[in-house]
Amino acid sequence: MIDTIRSLGRWGLGVFERLGRGHLLLLEILRGVPELFLRFSLVIQQLSSVGVHSVLIILISGLFVGMVLGLQGYNTLVDFGAEESLGVLVALSLVRELGPVVSALLFAGRAGSALTAEIGLMKSTEQLSGMEMMAVDPVRRVLAPRFLAGFISMPLLAAIFSAVGIFGGFLVGHGLLGVDDGAFWSQMQAKTDWYEDVLNGVIKSIVFGFVVTWIALFEGYDATPTSEGVGRATTRTVVHSAFAILGLDFVLTALMFGDV
């Protein structure tokens, strides 16, 4: 019994210690961000591996999510004779929720796990230590550019996801189910608010980008420097990112769309 409580306590202390280390790392990364604007080519390189390489999965997933929304939404709306509102339904679901959340989940799986694996591998092959001994701070040289790249990429990816998704919904709604295209777009425009819906969605995706990149970098940097440890860290990145995205999504939604 005492042993159970003790191991619970040890686990709790471990969690807090990791949280502390994570925040310290974040602080150091953020301190390294300003000087990156003098060496932006470092960030561009990472934008390529973090952002560009995630575009394909975002495009395809966005299209299909939008198409499914079109189909499902139509089936429900047609019962109320409100199939003209299909555009609103697709646009609001994507812009407010699915765009930021699903693209962040995909980003965690695609770019986040790759970041963790890359950093973890650099640690286990002593590349990070090597840099330190060459008087190059790995947090500033390796982590900070990746952090900024993730932070910039996420809202762009989410916007691409939503735009493609709405197009997918339109394809299904207009092309397959024969919803009037004028009504589709005009209803959507009338009911989707730039500030309330689109901008809040963008803010969500910025927050998700921040958190997912942070988790991915921390897990990589904190990984046990063996191939097994890196593998476990990669899994943790995806799991913790998913928790963080969904939990934060609830908090942000409550703040943004809860009764003002």
Partner: protein
């Protein structure tokens, strides 16, 4: 670190695609275009009951949108709803005796303010008050009245 041209090009294309998507969301999907017409003037109308009217609900005239609801307060003296309307600058020839009513778009739709033009030669300007108003229909009241009149008729 030097980098290949193709990296820079693909990154450029990625950032451009993201910005275009944001632009599409703003212009095509949402009502961002309304904001370009932000210059306008404000008038006030008092309603007995506004039902489900909300800030940013549309204000229309003959079905054309001419503005938005800017603010909703409760008047401390009359206990009426004190609604501030933001009318677009391009619609500057609305007569002063115009009437404002609260309608519902469709059976279950959202509520909006409809304006019916009067006959005065003078036009509404910033800070004016619309005197003629008609409150929102509250479904429970309508049904109650209907049942009451039905009972009286018998």
């Amino acid at each position: 670190m030097r980098q290949s041209k193709s990296t820079e090009i693909t990154v450029g294309m990625f950032v451009a695609a993201g910005l275009v998507a944001l632009f599409v969301l703003a212009m095509k999907v949402s009502n961002f275009t309304d904001f370009t017409d932000e210059t306008g003037y404000q008038v006030v109308a008092e309603f007995e009951n506004i039902g489900g009217l909300k800030v940013r609900s549309p204000v229309t005239m003959a079905g054309v949108r001419v503005g938005r609801v800017a603010a909703i307060d409760l008047s401390p003296t009359t206990y009426n709803a004190h609604v501030t309307l933001n009318l677009y600058g391009s619609f500057d020839t609305i007569p002063t005796d115009t009437a404002a009513s609260i309608y519902t778009a469709g059976l279950l739709g959202e509520q909006y303010i409809g304006l019916e033009a009067g006959a005065e030669e003078e036009f509404l300007k910033d800070g004016d008050v619309i005197e003629l108003t008609q409150p929102a229909l509250v479904l429970e009241q309508v049904i109650g009245q209907f049942l009451f009149s039905k009972a009286e008729g018998e």
